[in-house]
């Protein structure tokens, strides 16, 4: 075949390159329409070189396929916020690596045409092929609105298609219109004359566009959407009330959290059981040795330790998505704004901060709603100070050490730890907004959309999307971390022959007494002591001496560097009761760990876990970072390693200083 032969271009190849951009106001039902048009095959990605996210999916047309790009929801194309800048660049083809879309499809809320037409005006001024999807047409009709699509089409100079993304009504016609618009690229879009006239006679372009929007809306829409907005206003008199609104918000959030923790415990139990069984099977089938330990403890243990938080993460995204879709989340930001302003954060930061009490990872991912970069960074930096569920095992261990036989005091200490986390987060946010991230807190400007029934389908798709992002992005990092942490705790191997004589004889004595478990625990303990993690722990122990940690706790701090809850199992191994002893409650394992800890003595005979040491350990674990997956997500959301490093640095310094003050004060008081 000669290379000069003309390439055969199949029609499908040409069609595949076709991209359609979806634009619209935040509450116009853009996401629902996107989901309706693309189904499950959508992917979430950042625009190249930015942290602005978008979704892209395959749009099936009658004569081929196109890529549908869901641009961020926005009110204007003025390029003020990063979202607006990226959306504008993407539309005009200025974004490197992203082809200019053949068609811009703008979603207009049929129940409020006037508001949406402002954005339509800006799009028409770009003079690119444009289609208007008049969404929620069924809602508008139900409210007695009559919309003359012919008139609208005439005045806008582009196709107008009435659709209902929720029911699917009119979506086929919309697909046809997209095909037609894509085929007739040669026909240039022009700015409507009326809009042009309007813009030239006015000083303020915004007013000009809105005047044009009013006139078009007045000509094409008959009736007022009274029913729903009256209902919304009635509800809002309660929910945005300065006192009652706050109480309602507290109630809603308490309910959400109860639901999350209550429902999540079941799948968390299953996952725990599943990975436990998998670990056991791996231990049984694989020959004893490094490979067995690597697969059972490193891989399965590491991945299980991450996936166990997945149910909480999913439930959190699911409920937040429902609340967002119903319109309530805008009210939450509204009522919290005045309070949050005192620490320099916007009202929108509150829900992410609260979500952090389940897990910092979804909380950091949900800070995307905060428009201002500095406000968002400050929120991300302080989120890990909130007490996440991984801190619970540590709190429980230390508070039962502090208050044996006094569960009332122990639970009070847990509550105190939560309070300390919240206080530290708010205080640090204030400090950051006064120093590193100096700047005025963005004043609140938020649309309060009409309340509506949230879409279950949207919520499920969002949850799936977010959960997948967590597994894919955090998951790969976590795998690597799990393997590294496993290697640090496993190597170098100790040769039983080279152990000190007294250790050898202790192991031999246990074996002779027929207590294989004790011998095994003793060996595991020695192994961990001599591993890299053990050596690092022993090496840095002098640094932890002033905060009252002995060498075992120092090893615990090192081994739980990637995941804070690991300290419990590390202490269990180091105190010679075996890893399974830490969470084997029915068998009295937790009790035996507590007894061991309580009775342990330093070389000079003083008890290790004095009240001062326990308080210091508790304060340290409230404030220390000790979670690498969170850091990986911070890296992803901020786009650089600088912020996770700042986060790690300040939290470690804060935790150390606070533990130091706690220990020295308590020790001086003779506790």
């Amino acid at each position: 075949m000669s290379s000069a032969a003309l390439p055969i271009v199949r029609r499908a190849d040409v069609q595949r390159e076709l991209t359609v951009a979806l634009v619209g106001n935040p509450n116009a039902g853009k996401t629902t329409l996107f989901n309706r048009l693309t189904g499950l095959r959508a992917k979430t990605a950042n625009f190249p070189g930015t942290t602005v996210e978008h979704r892209r999916g395959v749009l099936r047309l009658a004569d081929g396929e196109a890529t549908l790009i869901d641009l961020p929801g926005l009110y204007s194309l003025d390029a003020v916020t990063p979202d607006e800048r990226v959306a504008r660049d993407a539309l005009v083809g200025d974004l490197p690596g992203a082809p200019k879309p053949a068609v811009a499809m703008v979603v207009v809320d049929a129940t409020n045409v006037e508001r949406s037409l402002f954005l339509v005006a800006q799009l028409l001024e770009l003079e690119q092929p444009t289609i208007v999807a008049l969404n929620m047409i069924d809602d508008a009709q139900r409210q007695g609105l009559e919309i003359d699509c012919e008139e609208l089409q005439l005045r806008l100079g582009c196709p107008v298609l009435p659709v209902s993304a929720r029911t699917g009504q009119g979506v086929d016609k919309l697909r046809e219109a997209i095909s037609r618009a894509a085929a007739s690229v040669a026909v240039a879009q022009t700015t409507p004359q009326a809009l042009r006239d309007c813009s030239s006679c006015h000083q303020c372009q915004y007013a000009a566009r809105y005047d044009w929007a009013s006139s078009v809306s007045a000509a094409a829409v008959r009736g007022e959407p009274i029913v729903r907005s009256k209902r919304t206003e009635a509800i809002d008199r309660v929910l945005t009330h300065r006192v009652v609104g706050l109480l309602c918000f507290a109630g809603v959030m308490a309910l959400v959290f109860l639901l999350i923790f209550w429902i999540a415990q079941y799948p968390m139990g299953w996952i725990d059981g599943l990975f436990g069984t998998a670990g056991e099977l791996a231990s049984r089938w694989l020959p004893e040795g490094d490979l067995q330990s690597f697969v059972a403890d490193g891989l399965i243990g590491g991945v299980g330790g991450m996936l166990i938080f997945l149910p909480q993460i999913c439930l959190l995204f699911f409920t937040l998505s429902l609340l967002e879709d119903s319109g309530y989340l805008a009210r939450a930001a509204f009522v919290m704004d005045r309070l949050m302003y005192r620490v320099g954060l916007p009202g929108k930061a509150f829900v992410p901060l609260l979500s952090a009490h389940a897990c910092a990872i979804p909380a950091i991912m949900s800070t995307r709603v905060i428009e201002d970069r500095r406000d968002r960074l400050a929120t991300i930096l302080v989120i890990p100070l909130m007490t996440c569920s991984a801190r619970m095992p540590v709190y429980l261990l230390v508070t039962s050490l502090l208050f044996p036989e006094r569960p009332g005091m122990a639970s009070l200490a847990v509550v105190g730890s939560y309070a300390l986390g919240i206080f530290a987060a708010l205080a640090m946010a204030w400090v950051f907004k006064k120093s590193l991230l100096k700047g005025r807190t963005k004043p609140l400007v938020i649309e309060l959309p009409n309340y509506r029934r949230p879409s279950l389908r949207n919520a499920l798709l969002t949850t799936y999307d977010r959960a997948w992002a967590f597994v894919k992005n955090a998951g790969t990092t976590i795998m690597v971390i799990a393997v590294i942490m496993w290697a640090l705790a496993t190597y170098p191997k100790v040769d039983p022959q080279s152990l000190p004589a007294d250790t050898q004889s202790a192991i031999a004595a246990a074996e002779a007494a027929g207590d294989d478990a004790a011998a095994e625990h003793l060996l595991a303990q020695t192994q961990l002591e001599h591993s890299f993690a053990g050596r690092i722990g022993r090496g840095i122990q002098p640094a932890f001496e002033p905060v009252g940690f002995d060498w075992r706790m120092s090893i615990g701090v090192v081994s739980s560097f990637a995941a804070r809850e690991v300290i419990v199992s590390t202490l269990a191994v180091l105190y010679g009761i075996g890893e399974e002893g830490a969470d084997d409650e029915e068998g009295g394992g937790a009790r035996s760990l507590l007894d061991k800890l309580r009775s342990s003595r330093r070389t000079d005979g003083r008890p290790v876990f004095t009240t001062a040491t326990c308080l210091s350990l508790l304060v340290f674990y409230v404030l220390a970072m000790q979670c690498l997956p969170t850091q990986a997500v911070t890296r992803r959301e901020t786009g650089t390693w600088k912020w996770p490093l700042v986060q790690f640095g300040y939290m470690t310094a804060l935790a150390y200083t606070a533990a130091l003050v706690t220990y020295q004060t308590a020790a001086a008081a003779g506790w």
Binding site: T240, V445, I446
Partner: protein, 95 residues
């Protein structure tokens, strides 16, 4: 709570006041938005721009304005930058 004792019917119609000084239910024509910062642009993009009419749905901080058929929550700090002339027409007659 911002208590509003002034009656706008007593004022000459051309006298601009701050958006934060308008009581709930009153329609007002925007005359000026001080400053050209991002926040002012955000307000303008939502329809709070000179020459357009807005209605205060709920006073306070943050307050709620009804503009272009939508309800928008605005913090009082920002609303103070907006000068308006209250309209004398009763709210029921206006769109």
């Amino acid at each position: 709570m911002v208590t509003q004792s002034r009656h706008f019917a007593d004022l000459p119609p051309a006298n601009p006041v701050l958006l934060t000084d308008v009581s709930a239910g009153v329609m007002a024509r925007v005359t000026e938005i001080a400053g050209h910062c991002e926040d002012a642009l955000r307000l303008k993009a939502l329809g709070v721009c000179s020459g357009r009419t807005v209605q205060v749905a709920a006073a306070g901080d943050p307050l709620i304005v009804r503009v272009a058929g939508a309800r928008v929550g605005v913090s009082a700090r920002l609303a103070q930058q907006v000068s308006v002339v209250p309209q004398l027409a009763p709210p029921a007659a206006a769109r």
